[in-house]
Every structure is written in structure tokens, then in C-alpha cells.
């Protein structure tokens, strides 16, 4: 596994740059990741990212867009606004989680 420097810390990532170790992430890291992909974090963004982190901890898998909307309470349209074009992957990236594996 490669490592990369985010916000002055070495973290473990996969070949694309998604973080692979849950506990290497903190909110400052999340902010740096968001910045790197051009997402300006607001409270609404954080609400989503915190849901992803907690849900991953509970379920052992990165939630899909549908799950973020049904279980996380942020509707789909909003997710496309907050994380344009590829919301599922962008949310996962900022949250320091693997890309979601689910189809729906």
C-alpha cells in the first residue's frame, strides 16, 4: 500500500489515493482531502461526512448515495449539489473511506 502526505501527516492510501486506514483520518485531514478535489466544506458537507464515518463504523461498508439519503436523511438532489458529478466517490474520498461497493 502506498502512503501519501496529507496535511503534514503520512497516511496509507490505495493506488488511486483513497485512504485505507479508518483511524488515520480526522476532520482536519477531511478538510485537506476536500480542498484537494475542490470541495469547499460547509456544515451541510460535514453532516454528510460524519454520517459516512459513523455508518462505516456500524456497518463495515461505505454507504451508497441511496443509503446516505434514506438512513442519513440528506436527499439525493442535495448530495449531487454538495459533491457534484460523482457524489458517492467524492463523499467517500473526503471521509477517508473506500469507494462504496454496493450497486444501489
Amino acid at each position: 500500500m502506498p502512503t501519501t502526505t496529507i496535511n503534514g501527516h503520512d497516511v496509507t492510501v490505495d493506488d488511486e489515493g483513497f485512504m485505507t486506514v479508518y483511524d488515520e483520518w480526522d476532520e482536519d485531514t477531511g478538510k485537506a482531502l476536500a480542498e484537494a478535489i475542490g470541495v469547499d466544506m460547509t456544515d451541510e458537507h460535514w453532516q454528510v461526512i460524519r454520517f459516512l464515518r459513523n455508518d462505516f463504523k456500524d456497518q463495515g461498508a461505505t454507504p451508497t448515495i441511496r443509503r446516505v439519503s434514506t438512513a442519513g436523511g440528506v436527499d439525493t438532489k442535495k448530495l449531487f449539489q454538495l459533491f457534484p458529478k460523482k457524489p458517492a466517490k467524492k463523499m467517500a474520498y473526503i471521509a477517508g473511506l473506500p469507494k462504496p461497493a454496493g450497486c444501489v
Binding site: 502506498p2 501519501t4 502526505t5 496529507i6 496535511n7 503534514g8 492510501v13 488511486e16 489515493g17 483513497f18 485537506a32 480542498e35 484537494a36 478535489i37 475542490g38 448515495i65 441511496r66 443509503r67 439519503s69 436527499d75 439525493t76 438532489k77 449531487f80 457534484p84 458529478k85 460523482k86 457524489p87 458517492a88 466517490k89 467524492k90 474520498y93 454496493g102 450497486c103 444501489v104
Partner: protein
């Protein structure tokens, strides 16, 4: 040196306007055949691809208010249903098979058809109803699901999907 200088950052294709577009023609109205188009369309939307869905012929049931919640799965003529061919046509088999399919989908947290349409619509899909199918079924816009963008003819659809990749299901 800035903090992000050494970062390995995945490409989300933000800088390039790919203009990728996917057109899906959904021509079958059984429960099992409603899902492939919705699942692939939803996946494409999540990848930033523009999606146009065209519901035609039997696929019209999927967007017809009175029918969309009652789609059926029949094992008749479908060897992949793994039910002996002689048993497939007996009364009650279709409703049993439909019930079992609903159960499997539910276990996998796959939404039912109306909710799935809501999902793709909210994700930015455009949803078109076929003019000829509407006429054949004596249906108008009022009979169709509220998220339908319009009733259009085949030429309109071909014209608006210029350059798109196409799936016929």
C-alpha cells in the same frame, strides 16, 4: 511547501467536460426487466454521466401510475428462473415468484420500482414516455408517473440522444 503538494489525489474528471451521455430504452415491463435499466442508469448518474430513459411498449407499465406498483415476475419461458418448465405455468406460480423476487430485492436494500424512479429522477435522469405506447394503451400524461418529463415520439428521442451511448433492454 504546501500541505497538499505530495498528495496522491484520485481523478474525478472534474477538469474535463466529458459530455458522456447514456440513453436507455426500456421496452419490457416485467419486474425482473424493470431493474437492469434502472440500476445501470443510476450507476451512470453516479458517475456524472447524463442519462435519458425512454419507456416504450411493455416498459410503459413501469411509468404508468396504476401499474408501476404491480409489476410481475414470471418464470414461464425463463430457464434462468431455475423452476422446472412444467411447473412454471401452474396457477399461482407467477405471484409466488414475484413475491420471492420482492423479498430478495428487499434483503439487498434495492428500492421498489416507484422509489427507484424517484432516485434516478433526483439524481438528474430525464424520463420519457413513448407516444405510440401511450396511444396504444389509451393513456395520457395524467395516467403517468409525475416524474415523467414528457410523452415524445421515437424521432424526438433519437434526435435528443445524438452522440449518446445506447442500451436497449
Amino acid at each position: 511547501m504546501t500541505a497538499t503538494q505530495d498528495m496522491l489525489v484520485p481523478s474525478f474528471d472534474d477538469e474535463v467536460e466529458t459530455g458522456r451521455k447514456l440513453a436507455i430504452i426500456i421496452s419490457k415491463g416485467s419486474l425482473d426487466m424493470a431493474y437492469p435499466g434502472l440500476i445501470l442508469g443510476n450507476a451512470a448518474l453516479g458517475e456524472g454521466v447524463e442519462v435519458e430513459l425512454f419507456f416504450t411498449f411493455w416498459g410503459f407499465d413501469i411509468i404508468t401510475k396504476g401499474r408501476m406498483e404491480h409489476l410481475k415476475f414470471s418464470p414461464v419461458g425463463n430457464p434462468a428462473a431455475h423452476i422446472p418448465a412444467a411447473l412454471a405455468p401452474i396457477p399461482g406460480m407467477t405471484s409466488m415468484a414475484t413475491h420471492m423476487m420482492h423479498k430478495s430485492l428487499e434483503e439487498l436494500e434495492i428500492p421498489d420500482v416507484p422509489e427507484f424512479l424517484e432516485l434516478v429522477k433526483a439524481s438528474g435522469a430525464r424520463i420519457w414516455a413513448c407516444r405510440l405506447s401511450a396511444d396504444m394503451n389509451h393513456l395520457s400524461a395524467d395516467d403517468l408517473w409525475d416524474g415523467v418529463d414528457g410523452i415524445i415520439n421515437a424521432s424526438d428521442f433519437i434526435e435528443m440522444t445524438d452522440g449518446a451511448q445506447l442500451l436497449f433492454i
